[in-house]
């Protein structure tokens, strides 16, 4: 499927959409499909610091617990309260369901991430193994 080009992607199947110095973070459609029905999302509190590449929360499906990895470093400014009561929204619309927003520490963090086309290729190659 075509991934939205208005954001960047990681090999951990997350997306990050920057708007100025703020960025919204979520998981990709591929991630939600692999996970199956999502029943629980655990996010950091507002004010917490994320470090690029390190885990910052978890998303749980019926069967499994999956770590969430920070695509970039920054401070949490907002978390999506909807997901506490309706985690299934992530399944219905992964790209439209932001999980948290951060103030980016280094704009440069996004440079190393995958474009929509690169991510699509990455997913296809992963599936071929």
């Amino acid at each position: 499927m075509p991934y939205p080009t208005d954001r960047k992607y990681t090999k951990e199947h997350e997306w990050i959409q920057a708007s100025g110095t703020t960025a919204a973070i979520g998981i990709t459609d591929h991630a939600q499909e692999s996970l199956g029905d999502i029943v629980f999302v655990e996010l950091p509190k507002v004010g917490e610091e994320l470090t690029a590449g390190k885990t910052f929360g978890t998303v749980e499906s019926v069967k499994a617990v999956s770590d969430l990895y920070a695509p970039a470093s920054g401070t949490v400014t907002e978390t999506n309260g909807d997901l506490a009561t309706s985690p299934e929204k992530v399944n219905k619309d992964a790209h439209g369901s932001w999980m948290l927003k951060i103030t980016l520490k280094n704009m440069g963090d996004l440079d190393g991430l995958l474009s929509a086309a690169d991510y699509e290729k990455f997913v296809a190659e992963e599936g071929a193994h």
Binding site: T58, V62, K63, A84
Partner: protein, 382 residues
Amino acid sequence: MSAVEMTTPIVRKTALNAVHRQLGAKMVDFNGWGMPVEYPASIGCGIINEHMAVRIGVGIFDVSHMGDIRLAGPQALAAVQHISMNDASRLAVGQAQYSALLYPQGTFVDDVIVHRLGEDEYLLVINAGTREKDFNWVRDNTRNFDCKVENLSDDFTQIAIQGPKGVNVLQRLTDANLSAVKFYWVTRGTVCGLKNILIARTGYTAEDGFEIYIPADESTSVQVWNEILSAGKEFGIVPCGLGARNTLRLEGSLSLYGHEISDTINVWEAGLDRFCKMEKPEFVGRAALEKEKAAGLKRTLVGLEMTGRGIARDEYKVLDGAGREIGYVTSGSPAPFLKKNIALAYVPPEFSAMGTPVKVEVRGQGVEAQVVRTPFYKRPKK
């Protein structure tokens, strides 16, 4: 790159393997078997939808990985009585019962459904992961009885049709009068044109339902599977995988070997007293169970419901109010029908009263839970 070529371990397949793949199921290695965990959302599936279909309508499972051991002969009953903890002498022809095979220590070889198929003929249906172990155990422990022991595990494709509408679906496909078959009874009939098929009103979902045993060749198996799906369309039938099988049995507090029961857990700890007939003068494990009963319980299986925000999962630690480790979770998961997070766990008897507050350690944090009555779910009486 490494010069050593990685070879994939041989994973066994049921006759319906290709069908599961065609339907787009996520496949997993379950005890050496390639099995579907769940089917895709694009066909209306996924663990939650599959689970709900069984509670409200009907679902179909490939459970061919289960094993089948037949005991037949003049001393078949005596043989079964020796290795099985329940009382098979209570079974009329056509009746089945839940039981277990025990080690001399009173711990579990496996749990089993014992079906009396004939005057001197019994069928034991056992777990997938314990097929060989169980067969060897049964054969070795019944040598002194005049009885033939056969491993029929590869002879059958076993399909479970589970849910309140299961009877409606199967009745479309068989000449057997299913309304005359009570729960935990069996019959034989023509199913999808196949003669003399064993039909059992049994299951592992805490719902009404049937399990049919058909010839294991691929074309027969696929044909029957597809006919069931067709007949079930108007009842909203969906194919169901091991994911839903687990959430369904957990809501019903049914044991899973390797979790609630194992070779280090005894019958009293597991709370399976009612299936263990100590009035039988002899069976493997009886002596040890007498001793254990006298010694008293050191741990007991309880149901937990999470009251705090978090999901208890297999092997998570159970803590007391002060954060001390007191036990562990044997099976834990979200419960799709009950819409709660539930678990079965071993705790000391002093923590087993209804309403006892405990904590479950989830990623290093104690999350509140309480002891609740089991089964968590009981199907409504008609």
